[in-house]
Symmetry: C2
Subunit: 106 residues, 2 copies
DNA sequence: ACGATATACTATGTGTTGTATAGTATGCAC
DNA sequence: GTGCATACTATACAACACATAGTATATCGT
């Protein structure tokens, strides 16, 4: 999928992956992969940004001798998703414009 | 509208604005404004990129003593739009995923 | 006459962000 | 004991929207 198209939707996808239950980096990647390719070097910076903006909370726990960071979505995070669904309406208007113009000029 | 959401769609909007007839910077901005805010410092670099990638052709003409650059869409440009419409299907899948998850967790 | 506004384009610098690449470290299957 | 899955960190880069500023002509209100 086009890199530029991803930009507006990737962090929302990550937040969505946390809706059902807290999760951690590796699992989030596996959960999102069916919908969109995402690499570690993309996800971890996103998680740090989400934490800085209070959209997620972090809880570090030991797992098999290693530290694993569990991320849980906050109320702020949920609001980010609903705000996105609102924004999406503008996107649909633009899409309708593009589709209409190209069909009118075939 | 969110900056990151715009990124994947702005150049396609510009190409769409050229479908009916060739146009120039100032007019393109006015044509797109009803759908999405776009400034000169965003549009002109886009036009230069579209030219470099052969999606548009440039024809400089004198108009009221000033040079005005008329941009017309090429076959490559039209293909860019149809490719975008294809990509959009992936976007709709992701949107359905997000919407489904948040409705399931109200 | 003169300033404000619309028109039309160029140039520079900045901040956000996706991604490649590389590194560290544990547990398990063969 | 070698590969593979797991789990996270750090650095560097390139694309791109946008702010800001500059140049320059035409038109309109007063």
């Amino acid at each position: 999928m086009d890199v530029q198209l991803k930009r507006g939707i990737l962090d929302i996808c990550v937040l969505t992956a946390l809706l059902k239950e807290p999760s951690y980096g590796y699992k989030i990647i596996k959960d999102i992969q069916p919908y969109m390719s995402i690499s570690e070097s993309t996800l971890y910076p996103i998680l740090r940004r989400l934490e800085e903006s209070n959209a997620v909370l972090v809880n570090t726990q030991e797992h098999n001798g290693r530290l694993r960071k569990y991320y849980s979505i906050t109320e702020t995070g949920r609001n980010r998703i609903t705000a996105f669904l609102e924004e999406w309406k503008s996107m649909m208007d633009i899409y309708a414009f593009i589709e209409g113009e190209i069909k009118g000029n075939d």
